[in-house]
């Protein structure tokens, strides 16, 4: 039905402003794309701290629902393990059109630089005149300079009005790259903006069959009742004003220009929707960060926010909002392991056991998160959830669509990947391999899995199910 699309990696050396492209190695393709490709590269290069890697998924530009998600990864100097963040928008699509699956940034520029990738050509341009320009102004400046409205950008700058106030790296001036301060890394490297355009595209072997398949997926998404849980999260986000209000007018309710717009597909009816947004935060963070350090970082962010600095993350507001909306006290349902100035923090990441537990606690009426067709208990749910989330990170599909609802099931992915990456079992194994690799690279073990006491017994079962030893360490 389709084929592995882009197989090229572009390496940009910022120090001497040189670039070269190379074909992805076969063992890199095993990691599919997105986070998989990034972590594979970081590992292969001895976790070089001077490298930032950006990768799209194999379906970028193919019209597969929400498939232009891209991932940016680096080995964190602060945390001493790799961190990854995802972002939507057209950057992944433009990478695909330029024939690229991965862009690697090495070294730092001596003075601020803008990079424009035009198919196989790379231009390094002095960016001193762009200093202080907002993300949107920068994006428009690059498009006007090259007289091409199809150039997509990834840039540092203040977000445009009405957009997330806490993120600092933007794709196309509108899609924020969440968390982990990648904007800071761009600044450190002296990059103001990366613009990209291309005349190529994603080749589809059987266009009519493929279009029929993705049409089926769009229909399936629209019909999936469990999306109402996603909607409840959007309502909270909307109330907090974190998403651009102009895209939530009328019936456009979408994250920026998302082609799916899951937020508007199904009206929200009835309770409970407890705590979803909070769990979303846990979910996003937990794949990448150790519990203790995550908590520390969050507390720092909170302190910064109190001081009216520009923090990266907003957390407790969600919890407050959930409590107010549903008139509950989360503390009574799930005691928080850590408190800062009396404010409970629910970040028990490392593995997502706690969030799964929490989902079970709050969302049982909806059979939510049990991933019905794969579940045989909480441990199995957690394992499947991790595999699904990891697969979506590797394939580059919006996690809001794939990670929490079984809309795009393994069978669908299998169908989409026919003759591409093998059978369903193989996809499972690829995701499992990446989970193990990330955990190993991060040095996570049982000590980092700060869980509610009720998980003591379940955790051993979970480790067993994941083929990890009793300390929660994967084998080599």
């Amino acid at each position: 039905m389709s084929q592995p699309f882009q197989r090229k990696r572009l390496i940009l050396n910022l120090y001497d402003k040189q670039s070269h492209s190379e074909n992805l190695e076969n063992d890199a393709i095993e990691y599919i794309g997105g986070k998989g490709l990034n972590l594979h590269f970081l590992k292969k290069n001895g976790m070089d701290k001077d490298v930032i890697s950006i990768a799209n998924g194999p379906f970028a530009g193919s019209g597969f629902p929400c498939s232009s998600f891209s991932y940016v990864s680096k080995f964190s100097n602060t945390l001493q393990y790799p961190v990854t963040s995802g972002f939507g928008g057209g950057f992944g699509l433009a990478m695909g059109m330029a024939g690229l699956a991965q862009i690697v940034l090495k070294g730092s520029a001596k003075s601020p630089v803008s990079i424009v990738i035009d198919n196989e050509e790379v231009h390094f341009i002095d960016a001193s005149s762009l200093e202080g320009k907002s993300a949107l102004s920068t994006d428009m400046y690059i498009q006007e300079k090259y007289n091409d409205m199809q150039i997509e950008t990834l840039c540092v700058g203040h977000p445009p009005k009405d957009l997330l106030e806490h993120a600092i790296l933007f794709s196309s001036g509108t899609w924020p790259v969440y968390r982990f301060g990648f904007g800071g890394d761009f600044v450190e490297k002296g990059i103001k903006v990366i613009g990209i355009r291309g005349d190529g595209g994603t080749l589809i072997h059987s266009p009519k069959a493929y279009l029929s398949f993705i049409s089926h997926l769009f229909t399936k998404i629209a019909q999936d009742k469990q999306l109402s849980m996603v909607n409840s999260g959007w309502n909270l986000i909307k109330m907090l004003g974190d998403l651009p209000s102009k895209f939530f007018d009328g019936d456009r309710e979408a994250c920026y220009s998302c082609p799916v717009g899951c937020a508007r597909l199904i009206p929200i009816e009835g309770p409970p929707y407890l705590g979803r947004a909070l769990c979303e935060e846990i979910l996003f963070l937990s794949m990448n960060m150790k519990g203790k350090e995550c908590d520390q970082l969050l507390m720092e962010a909170y302190k910064m926010r109190e001081d009216s600095l520009d923090p990266l993350i907003l957390f407790t507001d969600y919890r407050d909002m959930v409590e107010k909306l549903h008139n509950i006290e989360l503390e009574k349902k799930l005691p928080a392991p850590l408190k800062f100035k009396g404010i409970p923090f629910y970040f028990d990441p490392a593995v997502m056991a706690n969030s799964a537990f929490y989902y079970n606690l709050t969302c049982q009426d909806y059979d939510y998160f049990k991933l019905a067709s794969y579940s045989d208990g909480e441990v199995q749910s957690l394992q499947n959830m991790m595999i699904m989330k990891t697969l979506s990170d590797m394939i580059g599909i919006c996690p809001l669509i794939t990670s929490r609802v079984p809309i795009i099931t393994m069978e669908d992915l299998h169908e989409g990947f026919e003759n591409l990456y093998g059978r369903k079992e193989t996809l499972d194994k690829k995701a499992k391999k990446l989970i193990d690799m990330e955990r190993k690279m991060s040095g996570f073990s049982k000590d980092d899995d700060l869980l509610d006491a009720s998980w003591d017994e379940k955790l051993s079962k979970f480790y067993k199910a994941m083929d990890w030893d009793d300390q929660g360490t994967p084998e080599e």
Partner: protein, 160 residues
């Protein structure tokens, strides 16, 4: 014979998601890209205004009149104005003549390309999740536009 149904655009609903461009390219050239698309979304990001531009298959097509090689022709079954690539010399006259500049240059053949209505079932319509593009009977275009305009009026009209 003119088209009985036409593609109508409701720019207020467009989010610039680019699905119409991608599916158009896939359908016609088997390539997921924007450059091969027969429909092009014009964007003004600073004001979040997006407008899908596509051939309107005019009753009196300026492109047909301007084409020196008579390459622009109407398909009787669908009413679509298309380019006969055998006759087209890539002079771009149709682009300049069209009041919407709807025709564009095919990146490979360098000849002009425009919407062919996908044999009567336009995919851009099918994949537009926001109903910014629709394929409707001619007489409905004005009705829908009037209704849409007065919907806005209704919301903003405050009775004294």
């Amino acid at each position: 014979m003119g088209a009985e149904r036409i593609i109508a655009i409701n720019a207020e609903k467009c989010t610039n998601c680019k699905m119409c461009e991608i599916v158009c390219s896939i359908y016609h050239d088997g390539k997921g890209t924007l450059t091969n698309s027969r429909i092009k979304v014009q964007s003004w990001k600073d004001v979040a205004a997006y407008f899908p531009v596509v051939c309107q298959h005019c009753e009196t097509p300026a492109c047909e009149e301007a084409c020196p090689t008579k390459a622009r022709k109407k398909v009787e079954s669908t009413g679509a104005m298309i380019t006969d690539t055998e006759k087209c010399v890539g002079c771009k006259s149709c682009i300049y003549a069209c009041p919407f500049a709807a025709p564009s240059i095919h990146p490979d053949t360098k000849k002009t390309m425009t919407c062919d209505l996908c044999e009567g079932e336009p995919l851009c319509v099918q994949f537009c999740n926001y109903n910014a593009i629709s394929y409707v009977p001619i007489y409905e275009v004005a009705i829908n536009r009037r209704r849409s305009y007065y919907e806005v009026m209704k919301k903003t009209w405050k009775r004294g």
